[in-house]
Assembly symmetry: C2
Homo-oligomer: 354 residues x 2
Amino acid sequence: MTERPSKGSPGRHSVAELVQGVLEGKRLLLARAITQVENETPQAQELLRTLFPHTGQAHIVGVTGAPGTGKSTLVSALTRRYREAGLRVAVVAVDPTSPFTGGALLGDRVRMVRHSGDPGVFIRSMATRGALGGLTKTTSDVITVLDAAGFQRILVETVGVGQAEVDIASTAHTTVVVEAPGLGDEVQAIKAGILEIADLFVVNKADRPGAARTVTALEMMLQLGRGAPRTVLHHGQLMRVERPDGPVQGEAGGESPDWEVQVLKSIATTGSGVEELREAIERHRAWLLASGEMEAREQARVARMLEGILQAELKRRMLAALPQESMGQLIQAVSQRRLDPYSAAQEMLQQLVK
Amino acid sequence: MTERPSKGSPGRHSVAELVQGVLEGKRLLLARAITQVENETPQAQELLRTLFPHTGQAHIVGVTGAPGTGKSTLVSALTRRYREAGLRVAVVAVDPTSPFTGGALLGDRVRMVRHSGDPGVFIRSMATRGALGGLTKTTSDVITVLDAAGFQRILVETVGVGQAEVDIASTAHTTVVVEAPGLGDEVQAIKAGILEIADLFVVNKADRPGAARTVTALEMMLQLGRGAPRTVLHHGQLMRVERPDGPVQGEAGGESPDWEVQVLKSIATTGSGVEELREAIERHRAWLLASGEMEAREQARVARMLEGILQAELKRRMLAALPQESMGQLIQAVSQRRLDPYSAAQEMLQQLVK
């Protein structure tokens, strides 16, 4: 059975039916609820409002990295390990680089083969919604639905190395950055940005030449990064969420010592190192809970979620307040340099804001 | 002389002085104006308003691609060719993966060596501003300043393969997508998204094994893509800008036939193929002007610019309207599941919107 219902039967289910279905973990209704959320139907908001109080149980694991690192295979292998450990797992694959929903669909089917018939696994690819903020928001909404549906681990796989993917991953509880040997020189530079968000590094394809060098390079960068001030650059763009008091980087001792970012090795295709990765994620979760950091990350996640909702809502209201025609006229005036964009924006805001 | 003034002397110049300096192409004042824009100082908006009517002359070339493709070297080689052709060139390197301004600075210095002392070249790296939308907006503002300063070609180099980088590149007049042989299997999948925005492909590092295969793969994908409907997915998120009537994909004949996306080869380190790339960019520019597509792209660029300004302004007003304290309380209520994020957003909006 496919996870994605045909588009031919929208709205066949009431919000109450969908909510009940999600909470009972009924796959078809779950898939339909997610579709509603993805398509931002009129019911979606009520659905999310009703499901939200049932969330907060899932541990969200972001898995990010450059193309070619073998993330998808690793996520699949990790899913299997989690199933063996008796946990229900959902996978959300965020692929903003493919505007072809068809591609995402195909990807789901290929992935599903391995876990097909297992009711404890649910896999969903997010097609791009065009807007990037939109993708972050939709991903967070889909996570809400899966959390309410009782999936205990939600793996969010993001392709690419851009800020957006980093953002999505950084709203996870645990962020795993996947590297692979021999992906070119620039990878070194990228790590600078990624150091800030990684809770764990995995050098996948560890049987390839250069793996040891990649591990060493990462460990050296981590060594260099220690003691440097930690920023909350990727958390709470709109509102800055301070971390609760606690031990800071470089300060030893105390009941919950700092998390030490580790560099693991894996060969996802053979499964080698995957159980160790799973165990490291679980250790990180235990540390988050013990240190109070979990609460800080939840607040950052919420701040990000609110920001996404606000942006979407403001956009909607803007479009409602400004007729397409007058918007087109403003654009034309600016593109002909008869008006500057700042004055045009001011005009548009006057229609909307107090 | 460094392009980036010390932070010790902010506001030493009035807006009028900066405007005059930019319009006269004075490097120090230009660099300071850009710093104002990057830091979103109170003077920045007035500066941009005043400079905007002087823009519209530059041709903006987006150069994007995955890490390891050798984009930076290619951009540098391309800059040299443009100088030989007698044009003034500005380079904006957008690097959202590095939150270390130091890194960007170092990058600038390394790049500058090649073009140092040439007043016809200006290079600027954009450090991440944290917010992604912010980066797109700031980049577009920096382009405004450089355009007003009389640079005839502005090369915007974006690292990464994420949607954000694609977005920045897609607001260019001409988008060049750089590939390289042997960057892993996933690259194929990424091309699906990138097909939509590429005006030109360059397979760089063409002396490496697999280059011919990469070229063939790209050409096959282009072949497959022909005849498919073109979306304006990456243009004008907020407001959809329609293209002017004109020949559509697959329709032959007419005064200005369709642009055929080409796949070029280059070895940036030796300069091989770089002049051919420059010529192809110029052919594309000529086509844009002849076909009326330039106007459509300008409108899309303006729409994107307006969207960025509006989002930044709404954020600013939101922060002004909602005291930090009440925002923190809302976040806490949501993260403790006492309130759902949609209701919280509604409360916040009531402070702001008509």
